[in-house]
């Protein structure tokens, strides 16, 4: 059996097993869920060690005929980028369960099942190499997330769940039409047939006329931009992130948002390169606006969780900017920044969840001086705050630096103004994060050490166990990012090479066309003289 397929569907074994559990037996259900996700992680590690980093193509491929009538196949495979994202998924899921061990008591069994189903969808999205299969995973994943927000969320959970569902669906339905049109386009070529095979489409799609390409690019990009979310499509995010239960927020911020940026790199750039050139300024500007706007809005938040949610808008802006810089550094930065954001924001949501479980409030003004009561918690919080800000030596710095470097020298963006404005986002991040940290953790201890009417206590061993692995990777990427950059380097290189080829092709074509009018113009001028 293909090891990649095994990784994708292994969580289903856990779901099936959970059916047999008595719903009263909370401990066993939690353990079963955790063990399943842990096993998935171990299996995915095998992918990591067997992965050949020198190779830019897709590895662990498996292809099986699925719907012969429509030329649709079950086709999966991973390259460096998908490998890193799959590892991020399998890494964060068990930690999310571990870090919120006692937060859920109501309908625990269904909850665990939903998390496992979600994991199947997430891994599937990153592994699918057939657009139809990709779409199935992409949409099917909405259902468990919808239930997670809707059943186990906060006060406004219903509004948040429905908004999340409708927003995401709106984008993806238009993408569906584009997928159909793309497959149909393939069948109109001589000797062609309807196909949704990504590898075939990589060579077919860029040949489309610019107008057609632009429409399809917009349909795909809209779907991904909603998921990222790119300004001004981000309004679902604060609702969904804040209302979701902690594990939901961790997965939402850690993995789901990455699907959007992953889609941009995997589909939008290589399938519609010319349209991508055309829309680069638009997406670049929106990304920069998102970076600054997200940071400014985060600054004025009174709720810690909302602050972290808005910081995602800002951080994901960097990823989009790096993607559309279309330079090797930019795309490398974007990929590593996806991982970084997954780690640091995932961890921050865990931190927020831990303090919320204790104080039952998330308002910044309810806290102050927590560091004196919870020193271990304070240390972890500090590390994740610095990681999110992008302190050199921690992971955030590497990604942001590469993105800024890549966009600075990008000929596609054409001007360094993007980097200049984006860089201000780094400073703003320091402002809102440190200010929040100061208000929550430092200062005098509240009267009697009571917060929100509850007494705080420091982290338990289990909570520490959930946070330590994240810290290890935060430092690892910060100090020696090569381990991870090596994996994604061939992907970035290949994407950029293909784009350069298309652009050079364009230049040659326009150069061939140009001489004629230029010559006549010159002769006109000389005549006038």
């Amino acid at each position: 059996m293909n090891i990649l397929t095994l990784t994708i569907f292994l969580p289903l074994v856990g779901v099936a097993a959970l059916f047999l559990f008595n719903k009263e037996n909370a401990g066993a259900i939690k353990l079963a869920g955790f063990v399943t996700t842990l096993v998935v992680f171990v299996v995915s590690l095998y992918l990591y060690f067997q992965f050949d980093s020198t190779h830019a193509g897709f590895q662990f491929q498996q292809k099986a005929v699925w719907i012969a009538g429509l030329n649709i196949s079950y086709f999966v495979g991973i390259d460096g980028m998908s490998l890193l994202l799959i590892l991020l998924t399998t890494f964060l899921t068990p930690l999310a369960l571990l870090g919120t061990w006692n937060s859920i008591s109501h309908r625990l069994k269904e909850y665990t099942m939903m998390i496992l189903l979600l994991e199947v969808g997430m891994i599937g999205v990153f592994a699918a190499l057939d657009l139809f299969l990709f779409y199935i995973f992409w949409e099917a994943m909405l259902i468990p997330m919808y239930f997670i927000i809707g059943i186990w969320g906060g006060q406004e959970r219903i509004y948040a769940a429905v908004k999340f569902f409708l927003f995401t669906l709106f984008g993806s339905l238009l993408m569906l039409v584009a997928i159909l049109a793309l497959g149909y386009y393939a069948s109109t070529l001589p000797g062609g047939q309807f196909t949704t095979n990504l590898l075939d489409l990589y060579s077919i799609a860029p040949r489309m006329a610019l107008t057609l390409q632009s429409w399809m690019f917009l349909a795909f990009a809209l779907s991904f931009a909603i998921k990222v979310p790119l300004f001004p499509l981000h309004t679902w995010l604060p609702d969904a992130h804040v209302q979701a239960p902690t594990a939901g927020s961790v997965i939402l911020a850690g993995v789901l948002l990455k699907m959007g940026t992953y889609g941009l790199i995997r589909f939008c750039l290589p399938l519609f390169p010319e349209a991508a050139f055309r829309f680069t300024p638009l997406l670049g500007v929106l990304a920069v606006i998102g970076i600054i706007y997200g940071a400014l809005v985060a600054m004025v938040q009174t709720d810690i969780k909302k602050l972290v949610a808005y910081s995602s808008v800002s951080h994901l802006g960097f990823v989009v900017l790096g993607t559309f810089a279309m330079t090797e550094e930019g795309i490398q930065g974007a990929i590593i920044q996806m991982i970084n954001h997954g780690l640091s924001t995932g961890a921050l949501f865990l931190i927020v969840g831990m303090i919320y479980d204790r104080a039952h409030t998330r308002a910044i003004s309810d806290f102050g001086g927590v560091a004196k009561i919870m020193p271990v918690f304070a240390a972890f919080f500090m590390i994740f705050t610095f990681s999110s800000i992008g302190l050199p030596g921690l992971n955030g710095f590497v990604g942001e630096f590469l993105v800024l470097l890549g966009s600075f020298k990008s000929t596609f963006l054409g001007t360094y103004a993007y980097s200049a404005f984006a860089a201000s986002g780094v400073i703003l991040a320091a402002v809102y994060m440190l200010w929040m940290y100061q208000r929550v953790m430092l200062g005098p201890v509240r009267e009697g050490g009571m917060y929100g009417g509850h007494k705080l206590f420091d982290l338990t061993k289990r909570e520490i166990a959930a946070l330590v692995p994240i810290v290890i990777f935060i430092v690892w990427i910060g100090v020696y990012p090569g381990t991870f950059l090596n994996k994604s380097a061939p992907v970035a290189k290949k994407v950029v090479q293909e784009l350069e080829l298309v652009r050079q092709g364009n230049q040659v074509r326009t150069a061939q066309l140009r001489p004629q009018p230029a010559a006549t113009l010159k002769s006109d001028i000389s005549k006038n003289k």
Partner: protein
């Protein structure tokens, strides 16, 4: 004469079911007040007819001087109708007992209506289509008013009858005009001369009248007015039967006349159908949002689904035909499933039919809520359920026929539909409430609905099961 006798032998699915219908009627008349007997007899009849249909899935042969086709396409459609009738009968028993209207003739009427549907799908001649539609419709008029002491049931029955009679008028007038211009009612012969006939305005008016009559039967806008009232007033299981079996039969005729006979791709007829499809999707979905009664909501949703399937007919290509067959197979099960669960909740005097009655259902009856959620997600077209693939297929057909605008309207209206389908899921899962099913659900009914849900998942994950069979009917 000899020839006809062998033809009878070959038309076994229809003939056997008709015989069972008559036998059941006799048994019901003889053994007074034992409706259970008719219940079992009708189920056996369906199973037998289904067996004959499966056996003849392969080749299609014309029978009775090319009046009737046997096998292939018609057998496949038979299976859809029989599945719908089977589920409906299983669900009805409990429901009717609860409402104290358990009578044997109920089942006989369902079976006879099914015979009509099978005639429609097998028809190779406009006269047979007429015969089939009438046989089906007359049974349904009676069934719609089966709860005869209820005012709304009478209203629904009468309304259905009057409007249905009107549609029949259109159908006959259309057939007359087509006969007048083509000189025959045989579909194959009409199809041969279609390229010339399509320039004859009288013929086109006749074809337009057929569109009106068929659109009435599938409840497409603007011929949909009857559907919400009739579905609301009829016994819930009959609403299920009408919205699936009857609709499927009408679509079977639509396909066999407008795609298999008339090659409508690129003609005016195709544009007309595309517009009807678009308007049905918009009106059906938008109006469904405003509904508070679940049966009415499903009525409008069924109008919208008629629109989705019509876009496959408007496309007029192989993908459209196969797509509709797939869509119907999925639609029958998801819609009957939804109606079935509503029939469990329903109390006498139309109580417990609104959205709010489902608040918190998942905590009282987790299995029922989960089934309902599956049907809702499937109706909304969310993968991995079969409803998604049906939509995928018909939209693919539309894109291939150069009607990308229709596909875009289709996906945008599906987005609207998600809102009202999910409203039920929100109530069942996210809100607190005391919703519960008062009487115990019978085991066969539960099994039938669970099978329907399982079928939707299997078909959603492995659509080839149906696609490969369906595609075989259209090899040119």
């Amino acid at each position: 004469m000899n020839n006809y006798l062998t033809d009878f032998w070959q038309a076994t699915p229809i003939v056997s079911l008709a015989i069972f219908a008559l036998l059941t009627l006799i048994v019901d008349a003889a053994g007074k007040d034992k409706p259970v007997l008719s219940y079992w007899m009708s189920l056996i009849g369906i199973v037998v007819a289904a067996g004959f249909s499966v056996a003849s899935l392969g080749a299609s042969t014309p029978l009775f001087n090319t009046m009737l086709a046997q096998g292939g396409y018609s057998s496949y459609c038979n299976l859809i109708f029989l599945g719908s009738a089977f589920l409906c009968i299983v669900l009805s028993r409990n429901y009717l007992e609860r409402l104290q209207y358990h009578r044997g003739e109920f089942y006989v009427l369902i079976i006879l209506a099914t015979v009509g549907m099978m005639l429609m799908a097998a028809a190779l001649d406009l006269m047979i289509i007429f015969l089939g539609i009438e046989l089906m419709s007359i049974c349904l008029y009676v069934l719609a008013g089966f709860i005869r002491k209820k005012e709304k049931a009478n209203e629904s029955s009468l309304k259905y009858f009057l409007l249905g009679a009107f549609a029949t008028g259109f159908l006959l007038y259309g057939i007359a005009l087509i006969y007048g211009t083509a000189g025959t009612t045989n579909l194959a012969l009409i199809g041969k001369s279609f390229p010339q006939l399509s320039h004859n305005s009288l013929f086109m008016i006749g074809a337009g009248m057929l569109i009106v009559a068929f659109s009435f039967k599938v409840a497409a806008v603007p011929f949909h007015m009857w559907a919400p009232d009739v579905y609301e007033g009829s016994p819930t299981t009959i609403s299920a039967f009408m919205s699936t079996g009857a609709k499927a039969a009408a679509f079977a005729v639509f396909v066999s006349v407008f795609i298999r006979t008339f090659d409508i791709g690129g003609t005016k007829l195709s544009d007309v159908l595309a517009i009807i499809a678009a308007v049905s999707m918009i009106v059906g979905n938008v109006t469904a949002i405003a509904q508070n009664n679940l049966k009415r909501m499903l009525a409008y949703s069924s109008i919208a689904h008629a629109g989705y399937m019509l876009s496959g007919i408007a496309a007029g290509n192989i993908e459209g035909e196969t797509g509709i067959l797939f869509y119907l197979s999925a639609y029958v099960f998801m819609n009957i499933g939804a109606f079935g669960i509503i029939s469990w909740m329903e109390q006498q005097d139309d109580k417990k039919l609104t959205f709010d009655d489902y608040a918190g259902l998942s905590s009282q009856h987790p299995a029922v809520a989960a089934l309902m959620a599956i049907f809702m997600f499937s109706l909304a077209g969310i993968p991995p359920f079969a409803g998604f693939f049906g939509k995928y297929y018909v939209f693919l057909a539309a894109v291939k026929a150069g009607m990308t605008w229709l596909a875009i309207i289709g996906v945008l209206t599906s987005l609207i539909s998600v809102y009202y389908y999910l409203r039920l899921v929100v109530l069942m899962y996210f809100r607190d409430g005391q919703a519960s099913i008062e009487e115990k659900v019978s085991a066969p009914a539960m099994a039938a609905i669970s099978c329907a849900a399982l079928f939707l998942i299997v078909l959603g994950l492995y659509p080839s099961l149906v696609v490969d069979i369906a595609k075989g009917f259209f090899k040119i």
